[in-house]
């Protein structure tokens, strides 16, 4: 069984993706620990010395995702007192926005967050999400939470900025999200567009308010901005979605760049030049190590993950490396267009039987979330394991190894090449 984050995790991390916001977890300590560690790992903000100021209730020594530490008493009697007291403590750290998120258990006791916020006079900076998002798709809840935040912030499109763009559908759970954001925004800026922010990937509350003034909203992965694209459309921002899916693999990156250029009327040549140089470098390397490159052809692979990532990845591995897709599975919350395109592609290459299969024991390479991929590799169930899922593992790379963009394509190729060495 693959271990995937769900809507609850997604909602917490969506709040934590906002650089000056804080998720306040109404739940037990057990629900907090991993999320506070995860938030700190994927989006570190506090200096080591800052931590000294967090040895106070609700934070307990850790700056991220303060919690009410619900226990049995609270499940029976409610924990309104903790929400009120905790809000005061959390607010003392001066976040620009606090979002109270219920843990799965807390969602059952119905504490009145609205009243707590009002009692504390914090209506202008504290909101709550009391929908139960457990076991819902992580990606759609990520977008859902961001949309709720935007609605709370009530941004106004009062000074539209021509030639500007935001990136949608990036999450802080995406591997090396910051490097990917920098690369993708940089490529579009090289066409002459101006980058404002990436809601959901490091944007601040000020950025979010400003974001509705962008001319374009460029989608990276549609699943992670479900609901958000509609929000921006309603505010007059033109949403650009690539027909090739997320920019994963050289081909999809090219499609993604050309699509933006077509719609914005910009010249993509400078961005494409960067891409072509990377492809040239791969060609040169492959020629230089032809025996390893030859070993890749015909290798089987399994891919499982977000549909808009799995689709272009599958297409690219097939066409660029001549690898055989023997198992292809999309995560819950998949974008229907992506699923249809993926199924159509597999059918067109006579691999339709692979659709819907979990990563297969005995295949050459497995592309999925880290735990499953590495476990299969350790068990000898595959030779190569490439983590493409939401950051369950591999948070300690210094050289950027995102999934998206040109760096992402090089990372994937690196992992495959390293895996076939000596085989």
């Amino acid at each position: 069984m693959r271990t995937l984050p769900d809507g609850f995790n997604g909602a917490v991390m969506a709040v934590e993706s906002i650089s000056d916001a804080m998720a306040f977890l109404h739940g037990p300590g057990g629900c907090r620990v991993r999320q506070m560690v995860h938030s700190t790992a994927v989006f570190p903000r506090e200096d080591p010395d800052d931590v000294r100021g967090y040895f106070i209730p609700y934070f307990n020594g850790y700056p991220r995702v303060p919690a009410t530490y619900l226990d049995e008493y609270d499940y029976i009697n409610g924990a309104f007192y903790k929400v009120v007291e905790g809000l005061d403590v959390v607010n003392s750290k001066n976040p620009e926005l606090v979002v109270i998120v219920n843990s799965p258990g807390a969602a059952l006791i119905g504490d009145n967050h609205e009243k707590a916020i009002r009692d504390m006079g914090l209506q202008s900076k504290v909101m709550y999400m009391d929908e139960s998002l457990v076991s819902m798709p992580m990606t759609s809840c990520y977008g859902h939470m961001l949309r709720a935040v935007l609605e709370f912030l009530e941004p106004s499109r009062d000074h539209p900025m021509e030639g500007t763009f935001i990136l949608l559908g990036m999450t802080v759970l995406d591997k090396d999200w910051r490097a990917a954001t920098e690369e993708l925004s940089g490529l579009l800026e090289s066409m002459g567009l101006k980058f404002i922010c990436a809601p959901g990937a490091g944007a601040s509350t000020t950025d979010l308010v400003e974001s509705v003034n962008a001319e374009f909203a460029v989608v990276v992965s549609p699943e992670s901005c479900e609901g958000l694209t509609e929000f921006y459309s309603e505010h007059g921002v033109k949403v650009i979605r690539s027909p090739g899916g997320a920019p994963v693999g050289f081909d999809a990156v090219e499609t993604w760049l050309r699509n933006v250029a077509d719609i914005t009327g910009m010249d993509p040549s400078s961005a494409l030049e960067v891409l072509y140089k990377a492809k040239d470098r791969v060609y040169e390397k492959f020629v230089g190590m032809k025996y390893n490159a030859l070993r890749i052809k015909g290798m089987t692979f399994s891919a499982a993950g977000v549909a808009s990532i799995v689709r272009p990845l599958t297409e690219w591995l097939y066409s660029y490396l001549a690898m055989a897709p023997v198992a292809v599975k999309v995560d819950p919350g998949a974008d229907p267009q992506e699923v249809e395109a993926l199924a159509g592609f597999l059918q067109s290459i006579d691999y339709s039987d692979s659709m819907g299969l979990e990563p297969k024991v005995g295949c050459g390479a497995v592309f999925c979330e880290g735990i499953q991929a590495y476990t299969m590799q350790i068990e000898g169930s595959c030779r190569i394991a490439v983590p493409i899922g939401h950051s369950s593992m591999g948070l300690d790379d210094i050289i950027p190894r995102p999934i998206y963009g040109i760096q992402g394509a090089l990372f994937i190729l690196d992992e495959i090449l390293h895996g076939v060495r000596g085989s």
Partner: protein
């Protein structure tokens, strides 16, 4: 839009009243919607000619997200009143209160807020029994509250509780419109209810007489207001509707009630004059000291982990046990990533000794399952796991099944009965309800100990290692050190209880000739005592040693146990020689160095104190930080007089300023920057020699920069 919640004791006539009021309001020209919030889902029946409509919760159960439409759960009833019913779980299953929360959430998502209505009536089940049924009291829903009661004490008691609930959801605005007396013919009913209303700071806004018109109308599936519009009853209903409109329009004020306290309720029941109240509900809400309610998180024992995770972690140490987490995907994600991050990375770098398993399953409870109970999912998951060939399965419950009261035990029994030869353990950890990590670990251990086959005879040369944590042995180097120590006496490990083991190994526990604790912690002792209770075997008196002196004691005892005293003496002479040589060579760099040791884990640090003292260091403080996870455990040390108990970071700050240390050895993840050199206090392995390696590490730290250059970097 104006929203009214109609509350009252079950069976008091709320639904009848609500339906009549809805018709009356509609006949006055308003667009009305009625929302039934009662699991018996008959609120709107009289508006739909006696028909029951599809409830929101049935709809949620049967129709997946994405295919749901608002019109499927809303019907148009008498006088154009829009009707919807929350519904609820079967009796004894799930959580009806949660059902109300889900209904409101679902209606919101389907766009019910955008329906064109002037007034919405929420007809809510009886007493405010939990947060779910109180949802309509929230400010975002109820602008006004109407209570329905009779003169019976329990009906007024329920009404009083609802007022208490209302004060818990105080919006700052007066919202109680008044009390409807739905007469039952109790003697003095009118006066009693009016006394009650007056004492609570409100009034009786209508008296509805007992009348056969109700039964006549209901028998034909209609309201009195619709069938007998000229009747007195209809007139009374109209007066209520008019009152609601007047409150909405600001012509009449609602009130903030003052619910009666227990003494006042006694006065009411006894027919006495009602004494002045103390505003009990308000005090209770803010936490009066006298009623034992909590005011602050400081009154709680904060748990940073949950028992469910402890139980899951315990079972995952047995490679062929399938672990089923009965809960949402979140729990599996949070538990599995915590474990996998360390285990898989260590293994992939060749540092971890054995292959980690991933026999982890989850029932994937979501919101709808929490309403209708999760036992079906548990059953399905268990059948799947058994069909995969697992013969040993462990089910661990998280918060959700615990709160909604799933009968997991019955499911486990059923599947066990159907599958002879399959062992299914159940740990009802219920998230953190059963405690934190250690508690859950021990609950699992209780079950696992039961797997040990006590009929097996011991064989010479085999030893069991007992421990809750095997960090000391989690690197290949440390594991090899352990093997070397044991092999010196011809010993081999039989079972690690609990780590990197299998069900066969656990069952064959008694094959070993003796059992050794990995360390002398409270958890380890507790685990050993469970084993003793089940098997009658006492653990070896000395735990696996760390440091020269413990090692010498251990090796002497093992030598005696195995009849190999000469081998033991030879080993001791060798180790003492190595140790003495090390001290001679390294003491110059330690001599007189002022060292603070801060030990958060309350582990035995005698080995560290021994070598530092032998190296001539000046140990100026040994601080032990209390930990909730180690509550109740005592410090055992040869150097007890050197130890400062209940040490904390504030005291450390003072010490750094006043004791002028050269080195801080601590397990703080972020030691104080720039004040003195700091070294990581970590697991070093077992035996005598790893201590020397650790001392070399400390020696290096004392010669290295106080802080690493990267710390001068900037935030991104």
């Amino acid at each position: 839009m104006y929203q009214v919640a109609v509350y009252g004791k079950g069976g008091i006539g709320k639904s009848t009243m609500s339906a009549n009021i809805s018709v009356s309001l509609a006949e006055m020209g308003l667009k009305v919607m009625q929302v039934g919030c009662d699991p018996k889902h008959d609120s709107t029946r009289l508006l739909l000619e006696g028909r029951a409509q599809t409830t929101v919760l049935d709809y949620v159960r049967n129709v997946p997200v994405g295919r749901r439409k608002l019109e499927d759960v809303i019907e148009v009833g008498t006088s154009g009143v829009l009707c919807t019913e929350a519904g609820g779980p079967e009796p004894g299953i799930g959580c009806a209160g949660r059902g109300i929360l889900t209904t409101f959430d679902t209606l919101k998502k389907l766009g019910a807020e955008n329906l064109d209505t002037d007034v919405r009536i929420y007809d809510v089940l009886g007493d405010v029994v939990c947060g779910g049924f109180a949802v309509p009291l929230r400010g975002e829903y109820a602008d006004g509250i109407v209570l329905v009661t009779s003169g019976e004490f329990m009906a007024m008691y329920a009404a009083n509780n609802i007022m208490k609930g209302l004060s818990n959801f105080d919006t700052g605005k007066p919202r109680l419109i008044g009390i409807i007396l739905n007469s039952r013919g109790v003697e003095g009913e009118d006066e009693t209810v009016r006394r009650f209303a007056k004492a609570a700071g409100t009034e009786v806004i209508a008296v509805i007489p007992r009348h056969k018109l109700f039964s006549e109308a209901e028998a034909s599936g209609h309201t009195v207001r619709e069938m007998f519009p000229e009747s007195d009853v209809a007139a009374a209903v109209d007066s209520i509707a008019q009152r609601i409109i007047d409150v909405r329009d600001g012509k009449v004020s609602a009130v903030i009630p003052t619910p009666l306290d227990d003494d006042q309720m006694s006065d009411l029941a006894a027919g006495r004059e009602i004494r002045p109240g103390c505003g009990n509900s308000i005090q209770a809400r803010s936490g009066c000291s006298g009623c034992g309610r909590r005011n602050s998180i400081k009154e709680t024992n904060v748990m940073s982990s949950c028992a469910a995770y402890g139980a899951v972690a315990a079972y995952l140490k047995i490679e062929d046990v399938a672990v089923v987490i009965h809960g949402p995907a979140s729990c599996m994600y949070l538990m599995d990533t915590a474990r996998a991050k360390s285990v898989l990375e260590l293994f992939s770098r060749g540092m971890y000794g054995s292959r980690p398993n991933h026999n982890l399953f989850c029932t994937m409870m979501d919101d709808s399952v929490s309403i209708f109970g999760g036992t079906e999912l548990l059953e399905r998951t268990l059948r799947d796991v058994v069909s995969r060939g697992y013969r040993d399965v462990a089910v661990v419950t998280t918060c959700m099944p615990g709160i909604i009261g799933d009968d997991s035990r019955a499911v486990v029994k059923r599947i066990s009965d159907e599958n002879p030869g399959v062992r299914i353990d159940l740990v009802e950890a219920d998230g953190d309800v059963a405690g934190e990590y250690n508690d859950g670990f021990m609950m699992a251990a209780d079950n696992i100990v039961g797997m040990i086959d006590t009929s097996i005879e011991p064989e010479p040369g085999l030893v069991n290692i007992i421990g809750t944590s095997f960090f000391d042995l989690h690197t290949r180097a440390h594991a090899e050190g352990m093997t070397r120590m044991l092999s010196r006496f011809g010993l081999k490990e039989n079972c690690r209880f609990l780590d990197e083991t299998s069900t066969d190994s656990v069952r064959g526990f008694c094959r070993a000739s003796f059992d050794m604790m990995i360390n002398d912690t409270a958890g380890c002792r507790e685990l050993a005592s469970k084993i003793t209770e089940h098997t009658g075997r006492e653990p070896f008196p000395v735990p696996v040693p760390v440091g020269l002196y413990d090692y010498e004691e251990w090796i002497s005892m093992v030598g005696r146990q195995m009849g190999m005293q000469e081998e033991a003496s030879k080993e001791i002479r060798y180790i003492e020689g190595e140790y003495a040589r090390f001290i001679r060579e390294h003491a110059p760099r330690f001599k007189g160095k002022r060292i603070i040791i801060m030990n958060k884990l309350t582990h035995n640090v005698d080995w560290l104190l021994d070598i530092l003292l032998d190296l001539g260091a000046d140990i100026v403080r040994v601080g032990f930080v209390p930990s909730p996870r180690k509550a109740g455990c005592t410090i055992v040390s040869r150097h007890f007089d050197m130890i400062t108990e209940n040490y904390d970071t504030d005291q450390l700050e003072v010490d750094l300023d006043t004791l002028d240390p050269d080195l801080l050895i601590s397990d703080l993840s972020r030691p104080v920057r720039g004040r003195c050199r700091s070294a990581r206090f970590s697991k070093i392995g077992v035996g005598a020699l790893p201590v020397l390696e650790y001392a070399e590490y400390l020696e290096n730290v004392m010669r290295l920069p106080k802080d690493e250059g990267w710390k001068g970097g900037r935030k991104v």
